[in-house]
Symmetry: C2
Subunit: 268 residues, 2 copies
Amino acid sequence: MHDELLTIGRFARLCHLSVKQLRHYDDMGLLAPVRVDAGSGYRYYAPEQARDALTIALLRRMDLPLAVIARALDAEPERRAGILRAERDRLAERISRDQARLAMLERLAEGGLPGHEVTLGREPDRRLAVVRTVCTPAETGTGVGDCAGRLLAALGRAGIAWEPPLWGLYPLDLDERMAIAVGAQTPPGEGLPGLEFAELPGGPVAETVHIGPYAQLPLAYHALFAAVHERGLRPRAPVREAYLVGPAEAPPEELMTRLIIPVQESPA
Amino acid sequence: MHDELLTIGRFARLCHLSVKQLRHYDDMGLLAPVRVDAGSGYRYYAPEQARDALTIALLRRMDLPLAVIARALDAEPERRAGILRAERDRLAERISRDQARLAMLERLAEGGLPGHEVTLGREPDRRLAVVRTVCTPAETGTGVGDCAGRLLAALGRAGIAWEPPLWGLYPLDLDERMAIAVGAQTPPGEGLPGLEFAELPGGPVAETVHIGPYAQLPLAYHALFAAVHERGLRPRAPVREAYLVGPAEAPPEELMTRLIIPVQESPA
DNA sequence: CTGGACTCTCCCCCCGTGGGAGAGTCCACG
DNA sequence: CGTGGACTCTCCCACGGGGGGAGAGTCCAG
């Protein structure tokens, strides 16, 4: 073999890693030097270790966590490919999240929040046929789509006409287990099998209209909640969304959504 | 005014922040409660503070650092837009970096490293007309393009023909200040004004061919360096790249680059 | 043998947040 | 007027993936 061992500094330059990194990888058991001098504690690496070190450097440059790299190095080639695929998916998801953030930031940077004029008004009592589910904030998109599908299917089966728009009902607090609902107003007096009904009491509300993709709803809610709190009003659940122009009718940029927050009766 | 103050828990639910976060923002001076009870230390927030808290929550959700959020909250609206634009650019850059990583990870996950077969051989002596620069690893792309432009312009001015391919010369260690060079082989005996020459001594080399975008060169280098170290060879600077099919001739997916690492004379 | 380059361990720092311990406070209900 | 439970306080530790530096020890070439 090629027995000449390398000091940590030489090995670090060879593998494009820092001395600190190599020591860290040793401490955590990811890449131990072949020999550690008992007296001085000096670490000595073998040239054959360069392959692993280079692999670590490569995967770190792709931002894989060290724990994942450790698993990938130990695993058989097939399992390794699976691990890499999982990481790829994780990265792809992060990119799409970042792209949504970028779009919001773009909108914020250019001209603030145009169109988010908040108005105070009154809503009438409403009675909606609803379908409910529980989901996390991240799953809201699919959760609502799912509910809407089930609602329309149930209404269709029953042969009942409904009045647009579709409504969404949301809690005030975005917990991990959010109870949400999608509903539609139906002609009065109808009893529908297998459908719940929700009574929405009328009263004073604050509202605004959001135009754009649903991923940018937080911008509109920000303006809405800020206005509510500035007027000393207290929001009350459930928050209501009316899907004036929905995903079936227009591209994401042209979606139109009315956001309504019921507030406490005027505090005199 | 609306004088009723809110405890930290209530305020946290209102603004979609955690109690821990609010305490942290207080400690760091980002958002201090309007009143802190001298005896109990209880924090009390005014409803008017909800706007700032909501803004913080919104910007945090876009991953802005708290320090940046603090500057944005204090700044005038015009400066605020500037800050947001800067963050937008930062995020956009991160996305493009992540996309490059994703492409590499994709290639790694699917079938490992096809085509990176490393061969050992010998290179002849070469004499190149070169243009040099110093750049960071991240700027390599523009640095090389810049050098190539200046090189071709100088050769064109002098009316000298050159033999494809173009060459790139790189140090072994990727420091922050990397001295790189781009060169071309010219007919022998030519003296060119304003151009440096580099003598590339021949000898044993390890080489491979990379097909694909330059962003994925690290994959090929990984295979190359791993093979070199596994054979107990020592790489020597400068590393050479021959741009067989360059960006002017083909789309990124079809770029073809020969990577050559000179190694020490056979270790017996 | 000496000086300079290298290496060792150990500790603190970054960022933003979560978790938990142990103690104190507030408020609504009985 | 208690009391229990929900709330809050401060303080410390943890994460990940290192960087920076102090102070001491080691290696090797001249």
